[in-house]
Symmetry: D2
Subunit: 423 residues, 4 copies
């Protein structure tokens, strides 16, 4: 997965400790009560995330490379295995929110125990083992960053279902909410040709990005900016949610059944639309990118607008040609947890995950890793759609233009949004 280069173990360890700490910083404002509930099956309790990411290092690193390692607790494998059949049976996903024990305090101790053992391991590991362990260790770091994003979106969902609408963080200042004048969107052009898709080069990527291969693309035009709340509101006001002809059949049925009439978290109040955020209920910022919409809504919006979504291949080529600047988007580290207006920026990376009209399928020559880690990505390659570009809850160091995220087309609790292409 990663060519072995000369390793500076100190750097690696320090990255480990930094990422591990970042996870805990995210959870610091939570009360113990916040960390156990699961108001819907897609959401996991924060306590579970804190433990599961530690279980990953314990299972795939410490148990393998730390001599005579003793697990922190014999039952944690059963409790905190997510979906690895290879590693044994586990708590049903939908029951994660019924487990009051182990208490949060124990989980923090578990984290410290794992961190300490990893530190000790690094102090004495030989180069051979380090080389062998490296890719899995790197995967553990990336995995923990993925769970940082899920922590943000799961915590948001948990608090949003509470009638008290609690704000986890202080309200944003006026200037943070200040809305800008956006220039008219323009269309960027990509020429027809045979392009290489997929990850190449020595840096880390997930197995689902490998298998670089050629794809023919016809020329296309795509927008240099994301669809905004203002634009989306026009769709809503034009009756977009009620008109079947813009929708996929399964999407329209679901929207009717669930009474969808706006993005998730939007609340109509006498003085206009508000939305629930980690900073409490905030007025909808019309210039900000629309988010918390399903693929069905993204597709219906595009149809209403007479446009279409990009394929993941077009997206990747477009993103590479228009050199996205990581600095331009909003990421986890910015602590806003909300996509922002960015006049003059493409926002290809950061802010919102962009739904593509590509199903999540294996690239040619896709191969699952041997053993349990072969279950990481491959077994989910059905019934999901690809999203590209990262979001305001993604760590800045975690994203790249070949990154393939994937969710079922009905999911709305992630920071998901819309980029249009000319039809």
């Amino acid at each position: 997965m990663m060519p072995v280069v000369a390793v500076e173990t100190e750097t690696l360890l320090s990255r480990f400790l930094h990422i591990r700490n970042q996870t805990e910083v995210l959870c610091r404002p939570l009360l113990p009560e916040d960390t156990v509930v699961q108001p819907m099956v897609d959401v996991s309790p924060p306590k579970w995330h804190l433990a599961h990411t530690s279980w990953f290092f314990e299972t795939f690193i410490l148990q393998k490379y730390f001599p005579d390692y003793h697990v922190f607790h014999k039952d944690y494998n059963y409790l905190f295995n997510s979906y690895y059949n290879s590693i044994g049976s586990r708590v049903l996903r939908q029951a994660r929110g019924t487990l009051s024990r182990p208490p949060l305090q124990d989980i923090y101790e578990y984290r410290a125990y794992v961190n300490e053992h990893v530190s000790v391991l690094f102090s004495k590991i030989n180069e051979h083992h380090l080389t062998e362990m490296w890719p899995v260790f790197e995967l553990g770091l990336q995995h923990e960053q993925q769970h940082q994003e899920l922590l943000v979106t799961d915590i948001k969902y948990i608090l949003s279902t509470n009638p008290l609408a609690p704000a986890l963080l202080p309200p944003l200042s006026k200037s943070e909410l200040f809305s800008v004048n956006l220039p008219e969107p323009e269309y960027l052009s990509v020429a027809a040709g045979l392009y290489t898709i997929g990850h190449t080069g020595p840096d880390f990527c997930f197995d689902n990005e490998l298998g670089a291969h050629r794809v023919w693309l016809d020329s296309f035009l795509f927008r240099n900016s994301l669809v905004t709340n203002q634009e989306y509101l026009q769709f809503m006001e034009a009756g977009g949610y009620q008109n079947f002809k813009f929708w996929l059949h399964e999407g329209f049925d679901l929207a009717q059944q669930e009474h969808w009439a706006a993005p998730l978290y939007w609340v109509k109040q006498p003085d206009g639309w508000y939305r629930f955020t980690l900073h409490g209920l905030q007025p909808v910022n019309l210039q900000a990118p629309v988010t918390h919409i399903s693929f069905y809504e993204a597709d219906a919006y595009a149809n209403w607008a007479g446009q279409r979504l990009l394929t993941e291949f077009e997206w990747e080529v477009g993103a590479q040609q228009y050199s996205p600047d990581l600095a331009s988007g909003t990421f986890l580290e910015d602590g806003l947890y909300d996509p922002q207006p960015s006049p003059g920026q493409t926002q290809l990376l950061g802010d919102v995950w962009e739904w593509t009209y590509s199903a999540y399928l294996p690239f040619p020559r896709f191969n699952k890793a041997e053993g349990a880690l072969g279950e990481y990505n491959g077994k989910f390659m059905i019934n999901q759609m690809v999203l590209r570009g990262g979001s305001c809850a993604t760590p800045r160091s975690h994203i790249r233009s070949t990154y393939r995220n994937f969710f079922h087309p009905d999911k709305r609790w992630q920071f998901t949004g819309i980029r249009l292409a000319h039809k």
Copy 2:
């Protein structure tokens, strides 16, 4: 509901403070995490019980009798109303376990706030108001005692579903588990006649016990002891769970579908049967009364044994004739939370609620109270069966022979057991 007698307000207040404190003592061993989860819809999170019992005094006493009372929090009525349509809308029962906020600490402050205001109220209330308030206040005390029992059974259920099988309390000592030799069960006889059923006299009772009326009973014989675990095990070993002919149709279907093969909480281990208790996993005490069985199982057992369950009318008359001694049964105050063997005692009161073969229906001339408290009991008089006698989780001062408890025939998480009558 209660004739007004000369009131000693000091005694009343001290009873209030005692009962309120008892509730908190019960919850003291819980961690904040334990107080928010809801592993099945019948169970409420302990935090909810703590708040709801306070909401009862706030809504029905303080808001009415405390001049210029300010509610502790404007949203608590929505959060902690159980089922009183008269008092407004509320959180869906099945969503109680998704609410992390308000945190446990706030609920303890809520309790203190209510207690203080009640104390102040007592210090200045005039006799007229006191007389008027008295029956509702008494109902609040009884209501809180009912929730003490539910706290015990709900906490037990919550911990039981945890793969760690956590023990809330220290293990019982050998002597507490010591099993005794029970004498052969005998049958007590009641003569045919016209009996008065229902509560009479000045003491407190619930509205569903009122309407004392005559009932003709043929003579009958009933057992002087409860069915034990040993007896129930014989039913299990004789294939009782597999043989439809002992069962009601809906009960057998359910038992098959849910794979019932033993009482709730029983676990087969290589060295015999164990059961989950608040003291951890304990060997089944063969001489103790069987508990945590549904009406369906109680009825099937009785059929298998060639006997029958008592009606609630027979039970009440039998209990009154064989003067149950409150001291003889196990109650909440004993802190065991488990029915005990009691050689030579009828155990009519305490230990386990006894399923009767009487549906929960209104007594003649049953009248619902005016207003919200009319919703207390009457609207549940359908599809449930009557249980009599209290259990090891019932406060000793809360039970009496006319007390009518009721649950749906499939419920198993209460301390429910079996008393037989001759067929």
Copy 3:
């Protein structure tokens, strides 16, 4: 179940052939397509009723008493056993409507085959066997009459769910619909006393009517007429369906969830209320008894009216004292399949089954028969309410004042109605 009297076998056989024929007469207007569908789980396809009633005689009579009897088809036991575990496994109830085969024609041949063999059996049976067989044979006749009523109500339901609203029978003539002036309802009085409840005497009854026993009744007053559509309409117009305070909790929840706002089959049209009948869509006859209401609605109506329902014991005593005339009610044989206004008649028998506020429980000393027929009634004695008096779909010769019918409190597709008692 029935004392053996001198038997006139010819009469018995002719009764058999008459009842068997009556079932087929009922089904004659049906098309083959009508006889296979099952639009809800409570309803069985008519083809199934035609077969199941034959299976009953084949299984309990012919296989036992006809020497060397060959079953008509080896798989029919699996297909047409309703719920007798003793007789083996069977098609799931909810799958009855998926079975296109055997075709209707085969079922008529099955019926003829069973009829012929019964005729032959009667021509040669000896007195000993006849005496032994008699009670079961009588049960078979009564059983077939019960299915005649179910055929009427199931056919009605099947046609009612069809968007074409097909009328099985010609529309009623004007005179049949002519509405009369009803006198003001009066209240009949019954004195307090110890009454005998349950069937006595030599005639046939079901096992659930046996065990005659004494019941003390306080004096009570009950209406000499059924609640009419006009009266029920007042309840509807007074917002009765929207006001929780008249309702049992489970009933109100269900009514809200299912959007109940009128009896089953009622349809609001620009010129008033209509209802679906076997004669097509007909205007609601305001003077006729209300029907197709659940127990929940009957109870809510009674509460709204400041009255109550009778218990089954009060009903039985009242019916016996006010000597109902079988001629006065509408029965199956009248071919109207609709309750009628009957000025000056009590309508205690016929027209509509009257919901009582008694749960369906065993009478004292209730004993199930040995063998499969022990499953006839006893295993359903939970979660259902007793109805008394028969309906316009009950054969006139099938009803009596001790007859106990039973349905779950949410059921509406039977001809069920309301009789009030003074509160």
Copy 4:
């Protein structure tokens, strides 16, 4: 959709009458009872298919082009519209099997009525209207052929769920079952290159095949024969259904939950595996292609075999290069309704639909037609997988190498099978 060429109306009408007749020939062995049931939601009652295909011509041809056309029945639009929101509301899909009326006889009259009016229309239509109507009329013919395939698979499913396992057709003769020796499978090779995918040329195709576009393919090898029952049995015997590592996550969960252990319709008997067919229960022919498997099973089999499924693009190019001979496969007209062994034939067309590992997505520049027919294909482009090649239930004149069929990955009741590619 189809360039207008000089039209021979007589030929067109005769094709219409032939196809319409073919549908009725298929249904001729059915009893009325067979035509109304719906044992699962994917299946429609045959009566519904017979009516819906007529509704298509009535709605899109006669109502538009036949002057003063009177619909056969005013309610049939509501009853027999499948999913066209543009055409109005309709019976819920899952309720199709509850409709006994209109009877089968009426539907045959409906068909005759439509046929006659179409014949009259053809006798007087002017060239302008004919040109305009032509593409929709052709779509109606193709649509009816699609329902012929569904009739075969739905009838098969309906009969299969019947405990009598009725055979619609006479058993196959020995020679039809005779099993052959298959040569070793070989792999056919396709060179890398830029290929054109999608339909070109003047002949009919569906809108989802249009938008011919270039696709780059790496070179690949694919099998010249379908996976046989024998091969699939090896997978079963090797524990393939129990080993998660071959499966997609959602597929394995479903297989476990539904207890899948063999293809749909397979039944283990003491002397080996049998399968339900329209000719009754037949021994599994080991040399015949495996069929009635879901995409999940096809993919798991491929993984177990160390191979993979083709993409739809590879399939199309492969099929075009290896010139499939329509004569070589089994089609609807052969009346076998079962895939057959075909030594030396590729079976790319006919026998079984071949699951590809391509999601059903729009081709570039896909455009929905204006109006109701825009709902024909486009709104289903989510959550389904593409199948190619037709089956033994497909009319021979209906298939071509660009034809894109699509089903959800869990569906098994179609004639679906497996073709492997080298990994």
